[in-house]
């Protein structure tokens, strides 16, 4: 996350801050610590590669590389002649440097971490890991594999899971007579929001977002992205073949219409920065928010006084009976083409990420970021989270993750997001209709990304 004002609660900032420190005490009481001590089932047992030697260079940002460092002693027991050098760089530098090396072929590292929305950009420069990952595919959440796949090739090992849910203030819902079970669609949410606004003379609102259409306390992940996926657009902006822009399709316009409705000033603070939102949550001014898997840990740290008052539910659906699941961008780990030591790189990745121990270690070291392995997630699902009144929120997150449909990222996705973000703002500010905004965004994407 860029070092500017919105970094306070971003996922990357959260990972950076939490890596191995802040939540250690919290973890002590969770299932992770206990499971790590248990004997895990070997899945499946790989045969060590004979004669492996040399240095493995890893690139990544703080919060996503510590589990590689932690696995080095185990790796060197198996391969005494292999050494590992982990090079930490900023989030932006990591992505820029990856592109530079895959393009020039000079100074190519062996292992790289990157956010999966860059997959389309880096695809030509990454090694196909389909065969290597094949024996483990049954273990990994399908959505995580889908997100790491580009045009049929698995190009990265999934690192974290980010299903999205809706968090709400249980106490305030009760106070204002809202039954969370009855909030099944965004229309229901809007109706409940109006009820609250009426009861409080507009002082308390259902949601908050900033005018840049960012979900408060989350990454600059647009609500529109969630809605597009919910409305059947698995590639958010692009088709599966990655040659067509779909943001002016009827589904996209309908999603934008929902965004317009939920950003109505009657039910939503539309100009609220992260800092202001934290203050407003603390002052009981906001009832709900939409956020991914890392979010509960951030809330615990920033709003400890609200412990026991929050609950989690699925996202409302766009239409009755519609999909109530979506996701935020996770990271993946890959081996660039031209990596000097690809076999040793794979062994490092395998031990750090493609094993139950590695998955649990990652979750522990990041302070509770959701892993991608089903068995690792299983260790979380029975956990009753005190902050959420003892609710088993991870079980719900896992259910949501299982319901996420076929999803993918295409070439030019980061730029497309910037474009849709800009046009979404015009809808929130009521300068354009959803249809006008979607058509303008699509036109701009087609020109800038050279797609149909």
């Amino acid at each position: 996350m860029a070092p500017h004002r919105t970094s306070l609660m971003s996922r990357r900032a959260f990972l950076r801050l939490s890596a191995g420190t802040a939540t250690a005490a919290w973890l002590g009481s969770t299932t992770f610590g206990r499971v790590l001590a248990q004997e895990s089932t070997p899945i499946p047992t790989p045969t060590p590669i004979p004669g492996l030697s040399g240095e493995v260079i890893v690139w990544g940002w703080k919060g996503g590389i510590e589990h590689f460092l932690a696995v080095i002693p185990d790796l060197q027991k198996l391969y005494p002649d292999v050494s590992v050098r982990v090079e930490e760089m900023s989030y932006e530098d990591t992505h820029t440097n990856i592109l530079a090396v895959v393009n020039t072929g000079v100074g190519v590292p062996d292992v790289v971490n990157f956010d999966v929305n860059h997959l389309g950009e880096f695809a030509e420069g990454m090694t196909d890991l389909t065969d290597r990952l094949q024996p483990y595919l049954e273990e990994i959440m399908p959505v995580s594999v889908k997100l790491a796949t580009y045009k049929g090739r698995i190009l990265g090992v999934p690192q974290d899971s980010q299903p999205v849910g809706m968090f709400y203030r249980h106490d305030l819902f009760e106070q204002y007579g809202i039954d969370a079970a009855q909030v099944e669609t965004y229309a229901d949410l809007i109706e409940a929001g109006r009820k609250v606004a009426k009861a409080t003379n507009g002082e308390v609102k259902m949601l908050a977002m900033d005018v840049g259409s960012k979900i408060c306390m989350g990454d600059p992940h647009l609500i529109i992205d969630l809605l597009l996926v919910q409305n059947g657009l698995g590639g958010t902006y692009f088709n599966r073949e990655d040659d067509k822009v779909l943001v002016d399709s009827p589904e996209a316009i309908e999603a934008m219409e929902v965004l317009k409705q939920i950003s109505d000033e009657e039910i939503c603070f539309i100009d609220m920065s992260d800092d202001a939102a934290v203050a407003a949550y603390a002052a009981d001014k906001i009832l709900a928010t939409v956020a991914p898997g890392w979010f509960p840990l951030a809330m615990t740290g920033n709003l400890p006084q609200l412990s026991g008052k929050w609950r989690m539910m699925r996202l409302p659906a766009i239409k009755p009976g519609g999909l109530r699941a979506s996701y935020q961008i996770p990271s993946i780990t890959a081996i660039p083409k031209g990596a000097p030591n690809p076999d040793a790189a794979w062994e490092l990745i395998r031990m750090a990420q493609v094993s139950l121990e590695g998955q649990l270690r990652f979750t522990e070291m990041t302070g509770g970021v959701m892993p991608t392995w089903k068995r690792a997630l299983d260790t979380l699902k029975d956990q009753e989270v005190e902050y959420f009144g003892g609710q088993k929120i991870y079980a719900l997150f896992i259910e949501i993750a299982q319901d996420i449909p076929d999803v993918w990222f295409g070439r030019g996705w980061p730029e497309a997001r910037s474009i849709i973000r800009k046009h979404t703002e015009t809808v929130i500010r009521r300068e354009k209709t959803p249809e006008e905004a979607c058509k303008a965004a699509a036109e701009e994407m087609r020109v800038k990304l050279n797609k149909g």
Partner: protein, 292 residues
């Protein structure tokens, strides 16, 4: 063999470090980016030759137009303030009547020594709504004033950026102006005084005309710096340029296009076109200066 030729080649050897460094770090990147600007180069694979398409696309790119307009607005707002402010301060600090001139010069120049990132972050915190120091003062006045949205109100973006530039750069302008003022012969002032000119008339009819080349130089420098400005808007508004892209400047857009979207060809075309804009603006400034 070399011994007899050495006297002839020695001068070239001695001056060669500059040319080697210039060719590697100056000329080559300029030429190479010119070539890249004609290619649809996304980074990973060598793209196709597209001729002037990247340049033509710029003219219908609303982000580019927005960035150019924002930058021109910033230039119009911050240029006169920093140059004019620098000149006024320089005149004051050049006065023999003022005491502790050295101390004031140091104070005004000190912000230049502060890291840009530190300055940007400090401003970002000072101007935060509603928790920043400035808004805190506003709210504590008891006048029922609303906090000012320096960072997220689109109308406030460029003025906020100007504030940061003014604080940081006025010391630099002051030093340039001071050097100019000190190069003016005291005899001219003495002649003006003997002719009965008031201090204001002396400033208008003696100082100002003689300072035109310096002001011109400073104006060109400001133009170049404003079009290339990156760190300040990046820290205050991020790569998107803040709400409604109100803080998106050309430097920020070139960075975003090249290093966030990895469209190196398009980014290079943008940089080249901006180079032309800067050249034309500088030429206009020079012509105006010469005419005066």
């Amino acid at each position: 063999m070399l011994g007899s030729k050495w006297p002839k080649i020695a001068p070239y050897v001695f001056i060669s470090p500059f040319f080697v460094i210039f060719l590697v770090f100056g000329a080559f990147p300029i030429v190479f980016s010119g070539v890249v600007s004609l290619i649809d180069w996304k980074g990973v694979t060598m793209g196709e030759f597209v001729g002037l398409r990247n340049y033509l696309n710029l003219f219908r790119d609303s982000d580019f137009q927005r960035a150019v307009l924002n930058t021109l607005y910033l230039l119009v707002l911050s240029g006169p303030l920093t140059i004019g402010g620098g000149l006024v301060l320089a005149v004051l600090l050049n006065s023999q009547l003022l005491r502790l001139r050295g101390m004031f010069r140091t104070i005004f120049y000190l912000p230049m020594a502060v890291s840009l990132v530190v300055a940007g972050l400090a401003f970002s915190m000072l101007l935060n709504k509603p928790f920043g120091f400035v808004n805190d003062i506003i709210l504590r006045q008891g006048l029922n004033l609303e906090p000012i949205d320096f960072l997220t109100n689109p109308l406030a973006a460029i003025p906020t950026l100007t504030l940061l530039i003014l604080w940081r750069c006025i010391g630099n302008d002051l030093v340039i102006m001071l050097a100019g003022l000190q190069s003016i012969s005291p005899e001219l002032y003495e002649a003006a005084r003997i002719d009965g000119a008031s201090p204001f008339q002396t400033f208008v009819y003696v100082t100002l005309p003689l300072m035109v080349p310096i002001i011109l130089f400073d104006a060109i420098l400001s133009t170049v710096n404003t079009f290339n400005m990156f760190a300040e808007p990046y820290i205050l508004f991020g790569t998107e340029g803040g709400v409604d892209q109100a803080g998106l400047t050309t430097g920020l857009l070139v960075y975003r296009t090249s290093f966030k979207y990895f469209k190196f060809g398009y980014g290079a075309a943008m940089a080249y076109l901006l180079g032309v804009v800067i050249f034309v603006l500088s030429l206009v400034q020079l012509r105006l200066g010469q005419r005066d």
